[in-house]
Amino acid sequence: MTFASILIQLLNGLAAASSLFLVSAGLSLIFGVTRIVNFAHGSLYMLGLYAAYSLIELLGRTPLGFWSAVVLASIAVGLVGAAIEVVVLRRIYRAPELFQLLATFAVVLVIKDAALFAWGAEDLVGPRAPGLGEAVQIMGKRIPVYDLLLIAAGPLVLGIMWLLLARTRWGALVRAATQDREMVGALGVDQAKLFTSVFFVGALLAGLGGALQIPREPANLDLDLSVIADAFVVTVVGGLGSLGGAFLAAILIGVAKAFCIGIGTVHVFGFEIIFSKLVMVVEFVIMGVVLVLRPYGLLGKKPALQRAIGDILPPLTSPRWQVAVAWIVLFLLIPLFADRYVVVLMTDIACFALFAASLHFIMGPAGMVSFGHAAYFGLGAYAAALLFKRAGLPMEAALLLAPFCAGLFALVYGWFCVRLSGVYLAMLTLAFAQISWSVVFQWDALTGGSNGLVGIWPSAWLAGKSAYYYMTLALCGAGIALLWRVLFSPFGYALRAGRDSPLRAEAIGIDLRSFQWAAFALVGGLAGLAGAVFAFSKGSISPSAVSIAQSTDGLVMVLLGGVETLTGPVVGAAIFTWLRDEVARRTEFWRAVLGLTILAIVLLFPQGLVGGLKALANRWREARA
């Protein structure tokens, strides 16, 4: 590489970093003040891009039209953010933190379909910035003027934000709330107004980040999740709540990515290293390294003493065996009276029930929220498919070995994850899932790349849908039963103890990390079993099994049913799978229907479905007594 081409890559990276910084700054601001991890922040960025596209069409491709469009789009997105806060989140600030997360997932679904409805499924390529379309010559290379402008936008916004935070009353309140949320309530500040304004500003920054990218990147519907993953990484690498850190991290990651693309393919000692394929992974590698070396990010501080460490979960009760037997009998009878369609649906539900139960184990009783649980589900599915197709093992062997492969990955990923806690841990799990996804997605020769693998059918004796259903029921049922059993064992209790008070656990000799690590491997293996069974039931497997969307589906299932009960996640999985199936057959906009349903449930039953229904039943019983 010549010096000139290095310079070009650097400038390219810096231009990309600006938008990344804007989104992350908004995310960080909102988290700092409200303690809400806004999963919909990527969706707001996406809306910014779409809105800018339409506004430019409307106002004309003139410099005035372009810049007015960028400003108006940002403000519009800011208003959407404020609306989300007022309509949804304000009602559930008292609910468990995880439930707020669920609400933001629902918003992601709704915004995605709203965008699909308004702008269609095609990518929309925006115009060049009028008047800035030409390039300048730097060391013999052509650099678009617009990129230089973008590079300046990052520090400019950083400066403005800094002034706002340091010099205004609003900024003082934001800083106070970031340090100690309760204190602001105690000072008699109108918390509702503060939160709404923070959402407005945070969303505006995301919208601006999106709108500014319109000349460089087409608007498309996949941006929401890919941008939120990037923004998580930047926020965590920089340190939650640190604007300067986010800026630094955005530059680091933007430049690293640009270099990977710029370097292309190099040959070292006879090996071919395709750097351009590392683009999707490099930021997560950076994040992994930073978190291991500096667990609270580059400029982050160890979170100040938190008064309420999570929510006190009620004790678990095991389901009554009479009830369990009744359900099992019902499940066994289903193929006798139901049609093929129902049997296939029930097979899906059983797979996802185990997936959700394993996620519940780790995020509820073990207290480690995973944003990337699909990694183990997907890797289990791929392991089964590869052992079957590439290694030529019989289906039965592939099915039984796959969970161990997934468990092995969980062991490796978990080793890093248990060193962190809280949001940092959650985001690291997401990072590992994303690394897994991009490797699966890009390794054409082994995994079939984006097409995945086909022809993964079960052996003859399981070829019938009913036979396969019974096997699924047996394996997934056994998996769920094992998880429940372990929860009441000394090991499971030690995990719960560690979640309640890591300090006390350590002070009575419990090596919490090793327990948590083992828990990771256990749930990873069982999620892998679910994935393997799923792969053979479909006959094919694609990277979507490892995707963020699959991870968030799992979270929605668990949170929908409620983390507080054992049966909650299973019920959540059943309802989610059934609802998605039902709605998807009727309308293209199934996500929106699902999202709105979730929002309705969140607002009506802030303890999850099963918890909410139990509370209702209790009230009814009391009323009768």
Partner: protein, 248 residues
């Protein structure tokens, strides 16, 4: 007399704040040593260095003659150091009995079982410990709903579960009614003497301190300014100055 705990030249600074400076003392088996001093004097910091939560900048901590600096809280607990915290730390979603059982399981090294049912063992032992601290009647309640004073008692029962050589109690009676305070520390003193446990505790209630402690050491801004039997400390002019906001 053989010291169970021997501390020499302990130092800890946070940024510019010298939280603990050149602190040395010793506690023997069956002895109650009170560490007193105004808020921010460095008492909790001292405790955290003794049980391995914080690494001292300098100094030696010997338990039964062996240096324990650098060990994890876990390892130090295994050597027989029980601890209660200034801000209680119990397992809020478990019952009182299960909290104590957790300590007993851990002591017996039986937490790694996946298929047994937790709670099947050590019920009797847990109840005996709870009886000692007067919490048996609340054994089935969830810790999350207990009154603060009761949590302190649960902590004491948990700390006693591994038959400790040394008990570290950071403000064990904060949040309790005055009568209860004296009762709890009198109980601790009885147990300590009977089981030959060395006890180091901090306390703000002077009735408790002067009524129960065998010896008292006084910390001010990280330094030990006095030490000795209660009578001597009570009449020490430096101590009076610190407590009455004297001439500093």
């Amino acid at each position: 007399m053989n010291a169970v705990l021997q501390v020499e030249g302990l130092h800890k600074a946070f940024g510019g704040v010298q939280a603990v400076a050149d602190v040395s003392f010793a506690v023997s088996a069956g002895e109650l040593l009170a560490l007193i001093g105004p808020n921010g004097a460095g008492k909790s910091t001292c405790f955290n260095m003794l049980n391995g939560q914080l690494a001292p900048d300098a100094g030696v901590v010997r338990l039964d003659g062996k240096d324990i600096v650098g060990l994890t809280p876990r390892a130090i607990w295994r050597r027989g150091v029980g601890r209660t915290f200034q801000i209680t730390a119990t397992f809020a979603s478990l019952s009182v009995r299960e909290n104590v059982q957790m300590a007993l399981y851990s002591h017996a090294g039986k937490l790694r079982s996946l298929l047994q049912r937790f709670g099947a063992s050590f019920g009797v032992e847990a109840d005996a410990l709870l009886d000692q601290v007067g919490m048996l009647d609340q054994a089935d309640r969830i810790c999350g709903v207990l009154a603060y004073g009761d949590l302190k008692r649960v902590e004491l029962a948990m700390a006693l579960a591994n038959r400790p050589r040394l008990l570290l109690m950071d403000e064990p009676t904060a949040g309790m009614a005055p009568k209860e305070r004296v009762a709890l520390m009198a109980l601790t003193a009885r147990l300590a003497r009977a089981q030959k446990i060395a006890v180091l505790f901090t306390e703000h209630d002077m009735d408790v301190v002067f009524g129960q402690a065998d010896r008292i050491i006084v910390l001010d801004r990280g330094r030990l300014i006095a030490g000795g039997i209660p009578e001597d400390v009570r009449t020490n002019p430096d101590v009076r100055a610190v407590y009455l906001g004297g001439t500093h």
